[in-house]
Symmetry: C2
Subunit: 353 residues, 2 copies
C-alpha cells in the first residue's frame, strides 16, 4: 500500500513570508499573544478550557498553557492522543460522543498517564466508554442546539446509570452553539442565560463539580450563569464570521497566497477552496472583492474606491478565512510571523480523527 | 519541531464497513469501474487526460491507466511529483500556473524521467518555468472563465516569447469552467461551442498539436469542437453537484459516518464540515433531511414520507458529498468496497501542494 509521504519540515532557512511556497498558513505571534492574554485575564486558569479543535496545533496549545491553562477541550480522539503525546495539558476533555472501540481503547491507554474525560449522552455511549476502560465522564446535556446531548430532565438518570457502572461522573457540559451568532449583545446574553438554566437544572440532578459550556461568541455572557469553565477555541486565531460580533479578539491567522495570473479586470491567487473552510462563505482580502473561489484558486478584483496598489504576478496577499477551524484542518504547518518575518513553523499535528 | 505522525496504514484485517472508524471515505469499486469504462469508451486513450485533482489518489489513477489513459492532468506540483514517484502516467500536464522557484525546480527534476508540461499565461510564468529548467509548456487561454489564461488574441505572441526562450510550445489549453452548470444540454453545448472558438483561434496563432479543454460537465459536448483531449476528473467518483446534470456517471464515493447521538426528532453522525467539501452546500443522505453540518457533526432527521428505518446509536450511514474534490483532499485513505465488504484501502497520497 502507498502512504502519503509526510510533508518534510518546512525549510527553516526561510526568513520572510515572501519566500514561502503557497498556500501557507500564517499566524501573527503578537496578535495571537494579545488574544490569549485578553481571554486568560477574563477566564484565568481552569476557568478556561481552551478548545484544540480550532487550531489543531500542540505548539499553540503549549502557548495557551503559558497563559495559565492546563485543562483543554478536544473534539476528536486524535486531538486527545496528540495532546498527550506532546505532553501538553493535564486534564483533557473529549467534548464529543465516540463509540468506536479501538479509538476508545486508545483513549483509555492515554488515561493511564493523565486525566481523560469523555462526554456521554446515552447508555450506549456510556457502555462503549466503560467497555474500553474509560472511567471519567461528563453528562452532555442538550441546551437548545440540535446536536448531541441528552434532554436536561433525563440527565440525572443517565448519571446514575454511569455511576452504577463504577464510572466517575465529573459533572455536565452543554454547548449553546445555536446562540453564538444571535444578533445583539443583550439579546444574546439573555438567551444564553435561559439556555444555561437548562444546564444548571441538569447539573443539580447529575452532581459532580464541573459545569462546562460556552464558546468564543459567548465568552463574556457567563458572569451570571453557573458554569465554572468556558470551552472557547476560535478566540486565539479568529475569522471573519466571529469578527462580526465585535469581540475584543483580533485576526491573527491568514492564508498567504501568491498572484499567479492577472488580467485587466481581476487577478488570481493560489489559495482556493481546498485551503479554506468554505461553510461560512468566501474569505476576505483587504482592498479586494473576492469574486469566487475554486479548488486551487481565488479570483479577486481591486475595490474601486480603495487605494489598493496594483499587484503583479509573483506578489503575495493575505487571505482572511471565513471559518478558522476547518481552514487549519487543511494545512500541515502554521508559519509563525512577526510582520513578514518568519519566527517559527508549527505543525498542525492534531489533524484527523 | 513536531511533525504530525503519518496515519498508520488502515487495519487490513477489517473486512466490512461496519468495522471502520469514521468518518471514512468509501469508494464503490464496481460503480467506479463503470464510470471509468463509460468515459474511456467515449474518450479513449489520449483523448482523455484524466484530472488527478478530483481524487488525489495514485492507485485510482493507476486504475484509469488500465482503461487506456497514460496522459494525466494535475493541478498542483505535489500531484505531478506524487504521480511520478508512483510511476503512474507517461505525460503529466500541470494545468495551472506556478511561480515558486523550489516547486518548479522539483518539477524540472521530475521532467528528466517523464514528460512534464506546465501551463503558462504570462511572460512572468514563462520566465519562472524557464529559470527552473522546465521545457514543455501549453499556453493557457482564457475562454470565458474569470480565472487564469491569457486573452485569446494575445496567445500567439506569448507562444513566440516562449519559443525565443527555447521552450517547446505543445499547444493550448482552456477551461470552460463557467459553463459546467449551464442549465439545459443544448444551451450548454451551444455555449461550449462558442467558448471553444476562442480556443481554436488561439490554437491557430500558437501552433503545436495539443488543444486541451473540457471537464466532466461538458464531456459530451466536444464532438464538433477542435479539442483533441478532454480534462475530466469528477466523472470517476461524482458528487451531488454534478449529479444535477444527469450524466451517465454514478455516485461511487461516500463518506461513512456513525450515529453517535439521537433524540426523538433527529440524530447526529460524526461526519462534519471538516470531512466534507462544503462550498457547494450540504451533503445528501438518502432517506434523511440534512439539518446542518458543524465541524465534526451532521444533524439529520428521517424524511417523514420515506420508508427510512429507525436508526440507532452505533449504526452507520453513507453521506454523499456535494463536491468531491475538496472532500477527497480532507482524508488520508479511501476504502475500496463492494457492498459492505472492504476490498482494499488506497492512500489519498496526492494531498497538499
Amino acid at each position: 500500500m502507498r502512504v502519503r509521504v509526510s510533508p518534510s519540515a518546512p525549510n527553516m532557512q526561510l526568513r520572510t513570508t515572501s519566500q514561502l511556497a503557497t498556500p501557507a498558513v500564517l499566524v501573527d505571534l503578537d496578535a495571537l499573544n494579545r488574544n490569549l492574554r485578553t481571554m486568560s485575564q477574563r477566564h484565568p486558569g481552569a476557568k478556561l478550557r481552551p478548545h484544540t479543535k480550532a487550531h489543531k496545533c500542540t505548539q499553540l496549545a503549549e502557548l495557551q498553557m503559558h497563559y495559565g491553562h492546563k485543562t483543554f477541550t478536544c473534539a476528536t480522539p486524535r486531538e486527545v492522543i496528540g495532546m498527550a503525546a506532546a505532553t501538553v495539558g493535564e486534564d483533557l476533555l473529549l467534548a464529543n460522543e465516540v463509540v468506536d472501540y479501538d479509538r476508545l481503547t486508545a483513549l483509555a491507554k492515554v488515561s493511564e498517564n493523565l486525566r481523560v474525560t469523555i462526554a456521554v449522552d446515552s447508555e450506549f455511549t456510556i457502555n462503549a466508554a466503560e467497555r474500553a476502560g474509560l472511567r471519567d465522564v461528563l453528562i452532555d446535556v442538550n441546551v437548545g442546539l440540535k446536536r448531541c446531548g441528552i434532554a436536561p430532565e433525563l440527565a440525572g438518570q443517565l448519571a446514575d446509570f454511569a455511576r452504577k457502572k463504577k464510572m466517575t461522573v465529573r459533572g455536565v457540559m452543554g454547548y449553546e452553539g445555536h446562540l453564538m451568532m444571535v444578533d445583539g449583545h443583550d439579546k444574546r446574553k439573555q438567551r444564553v442565560a435561559e439556555s444555561m438554566q437548562l444546564l444548571t437544572r441538569a447539573a443539580k440532578d447529575v452532581g459532580g463539580e464541573v459545569i462546562s459550556a460556552g464558546g468564543t461568541g459567548t465568552f463574556d455572557m457567563h458572569d451570571d450563569t453557573e458554569i465554572n469553565e468556558l470551552q472557547a477555541g476560535s478566540y486565539a486565531l479568529m475569522d471573519t464570521h466571529y469578527a462580526k460580533l465585535a469581540l475584543p479578539f483580533e485576526q491573527s491567522c491568514f492564508v498567504l497566497g501568491t498572484v499567479i495570473s492577472q488580467s485587466n479586470a481581476w487577478c488570481v491567487i493560489d489559495v482556493g477552496l481546498k485551503s479554506l473552510g468554505m461553510d461560512h462563505g468566501n474569505p476576505t482580502i483587504n482592498g479586494y472583492d473576492v469574486l469566487f473561489c475554486s479548488d486551487e484558486h481565488t479570483t479577486l478584483a481591486p475595490i474601486k474606491d480603495a487605494s489598493t496598489e496594483k499587484i503583479s504576478v509573483g506578489e503575495k496577499l493575505r487571505v482572511i478565512p471565513a471559518h478558522i477551524d476547518p481552514t487549519m484542518a487543511m494545512h500541515d504547518f502554521a508559519h509563525i510571523v512577526r510582520g513578514d518575518e518568519i519566527i517559527d513553523s508549527w505543525s498542525i499535528d492534531l489533524r484527523g480523527w
